[in-house]
Symmetry: C2
Subunit: 460 residues, 2 copies
């Protein structure tokens, strides 16, 4: 290594540059050992801090790695994905580089109200000098945020509750896992079949047995399955069943509540897309019909605000609230104080306007998508949707499998997603049914995306 | 209700004021029903939104509550603690209003670098327009933060690891709970006795059996207990045993690693106070001696940055990392993207200076506390500490119980904390031993606090 002490370039920068170039050019082949910090510092005649600073940059940028027992080694740049963090693929198969990506879950860039969040973070940290950050926070959530949520549940969703009953949680799966801590580990959890895989995985990670209850044929077998399950908790999505977009009929809702009362069981109602309704008024939440304190109600901020802020809430009926307090007495919070303080303030100040903006945008996307599907595909497909939420199902009835449809779409530059995974037995899943989401795609890409999909599937 | 439409005071404010005053004066006694929103709007001749706005303020301020089935009712103001959220009491007994509070866990107000955090939040949200907030984030953590942690583990703690092995978690108990998901639910978890109650509670909530292993008598029985436990995971705090402040001897460390290797078991090393050392160099972490990939290493930001940001990290050995990937494949992140992005930036830019500031402050507090104890109490007490961490134990040898000591201190305006709770069998705990923390108390309160404690205990 050549170090020029008279150069304007700082020494750490010279070290950085030479190793960087060496890795880039292959002078240091992947896996080859680099000089140790101490050795290089002695060699160059500089402090170890100087060498450390250079190595730190190299490690942070992925040129160099520290390997146990080998010191520093050169990385294989072919494996370095520039600035692409290893993101979990939530829906599975399609390559993420499709021209038109009808993924579900992620939101359209710009959804998050970054400017408001910055301003409110400033306010919160200035107003109390961040004092909330210096102490452990309440594991049930910050009172202001709980009051804002309770207020909206009461006035906008007809669910009578107090702020006490609202528990702030770190996302749907965390909420489910913590709720399960209130049950006996031998209890069975009934789940809709097909149903939301994220929750099923969380239930299984918590080692509870899952009893699938069929929602097909208009829920014809649901109650029989539920009765036979012996479950003490049933996880349901009555306003828009995931993934089939069915609405649970009113009569079944009443029977479900009776089941819970008669069996001393509880219901977890996941009302994940209540914020987004595009047609007639939906049925009110199951929780509004609950006279026996059997329904725990769960809502999310992941679709209206940000999936990466990791906040949602549970509203617990009195019996479960009492169990919660016993089980989580002295536990630590899972949701950071600062995020709750800012969201509480945002719900107080700007939430309604923000939500309307997102609602309007999603309604336009919903109309663009259903309109384009009708126009381009007509009766060659069945579209399953109920005027809510952020996805629908498209079923092609010509005998092709979902894998064939996904692959054909992919070849045409379009990403759509499989649904078989949501069935407890994949063989029970209807053939040729794919999930088409519209939370992340831009409105102007929807019509061309559907045209590309039509061409890919039907050769037009 | 009297509404003056010509008043400058907005109608919602008039409604708010009259109900507020009614509850304050007892005109609306606690539990009494208030007018419904619809009824009051009709009555006053205003919109329901107006009444809602007033009720929302009243609910948020605790004057009014919404009760299932009863609509809105007046609250009992005797139960309203003004602006004091119901905080979990981490250490138990003493009243939180002591003049001198030697609590442990919470930090001194002003510890959190609020100004830097505001500036970096601005930077992060401006630089990418908060785009990270619009998509699900990596459940293992953000790459930049993981690289910063790995860099420091490698260069400052001698633990060779790659950023891949570092998993960002939402606090010690969350990290432990997730680590347990890699084990069989019938596995036994060995824990130090006495030991950290928060982790024990988390293990028990996850329904794992706990095997206490005695650390008393210089760890004389520890290995025997461990051998007999059949445990597959041992949770230990070798650098400063919580709560006894013992350092695990080097010979025992080697035996512990052998135990793990021979039994196909793993060790979770919680190095919670490595950042704070005030005397001779401590023994290096157990993880630096681990040649067989048996040690998972856990570190925290709760003592150096904020207990309310809910972030810590695990460094997993290859075997556990592989299990982690299998179990948490497709799981959702538990730690918000924004907090990780800001912390990653802060560790890159300002961490070392911040940490030094907190280290210097804690060293001064440590010296003030040990000095004052020596000077004021002399050999009337044993002080158990090892020149690290943020607490020590004080044992009074005149036969008084911990309850008597805590009560005497309380009467003298000083809060100290019990230790019996940390023993698996409280009867095995030494008599008259209390915990004295210095993370939250101000430096200038330490000497007067110790004088007050001396007076309270020994009547001087």
């Amino acid at each position: 290594m050549h170090i020029d002490e008279r150069s304007d370039e700082p020494i750490y920068q010279q070290i950085y540059r030479q190793i960087h170039d060496g890795v880039e050019t292959g002078a240091y082949p992947p896996g080859s050992r680099l000089p140790s910090i101490r050795g290089l510092a002695d060699d160059v005649g500089c402090s170890r801090n100087t060498v450390e600073a250079a190595y730190r940059m190299l490690v942070a940028e992925g040129y160099v790695a520290s390997r146990p027992g080998s010191g520093y080694v050169a990385c294989d740049l072919a494996l370095v994905s520039p600035s692409a963090p290893e993101r979990p693929v939530m829906l599975g198969e399609p390559a993420p580089c499709a021209r038109y990506d009808f993924t579900y879950g992620d939101l359209e860039p710009g959804t998050f109200p970054a400017a408001a969040w910055r301003a409110l973070t400033d306010d919160v940290l200035l107003s109390v000098e961040g004092v909330g950050c210096d102490a452990y926070n309440d594991p049930a959530g910050e009172p202001e945020l709980r009051a804002e949520v309770a207020w909206r549940l009461t006035t906008q969703r007809g669910i009578d509750c107090t702020p006490d009953q609202v528990i702030i949680q770190g996302g749907t799966c965390s909420g489910v896992r913590n709720l399960l801590a209130l049950f006996d580990p031998r209890d069975v959890v009934a789940m809709e079949d097909p149903g939301y895989g994220g929750v099923r995985a969380a239930v299984e990670r918590a080692r509870f047995a899952v009893a699938p209850c069929r929602v097909g044929d208009d829920y014809a077998h649901f109650l029989d399955d539920l009765d036979a399950s012996g479950a003490r908790l049933a996880y349901v999505t009555p306003s828009s069943q995931f993934p089939t977009c069915q609405v649970m009929p009113a009569a079944l809702r009443a029977r479900l509540l009776e089941w819970a009362r008669d069996r001393d069981a509880f219901i977890l109602e996941d009302d994940y897309c209540r914020d987004f309704r595009y047609r007639e008024r939906a049925l009110p939440p199951l929780a509004t019909m609950d006279r026996d304190g059997r329904v725990a109600y769960m809502g999310t901020f992941s679709k209206s605000l940000s999936p990466a802020l990791r906040m949602n809430y549970l509203m617990l009926p009195p019996t479960l609230l009492e169990r919660w307090r016993a089980v989580f007495e002295g536990a630590y919070a899972e949701v950071p104080w600062l995020n709750q303080a800012v969201l509480g303030q945002f719900m107080h100040d700007g939430w309604d306007r923000h939500l309307r903006r997102i609602q309007v945008r999603n309604r336009r996307k919903y109309e663009a998508l259903t309109g384009a599907l009708r126009e381009e595909m007509g009766d060659r497909v069945d579209v399953l949707e109920n005027g809510t939420g952020l996805h629908l199902l498209v079923r092609v009835r010509d005998g092709r499998t979902e894998e064939e449809l996904i692959e054909a779409a992919r070849a045409g530059g379009v990403a759509v997603y499989g649904t078989k995974r949501y069935w407890a037995r994949a063989s029970a899943a209807p053939a040729g049914c794919v999930l088409v989401g519209f939370s992340a795609i831009a409105e102007e890409d929807i019509a061309p995306g559907v045209r590309a999909l039509t061409a890919a599937w039907f050769g037009e």
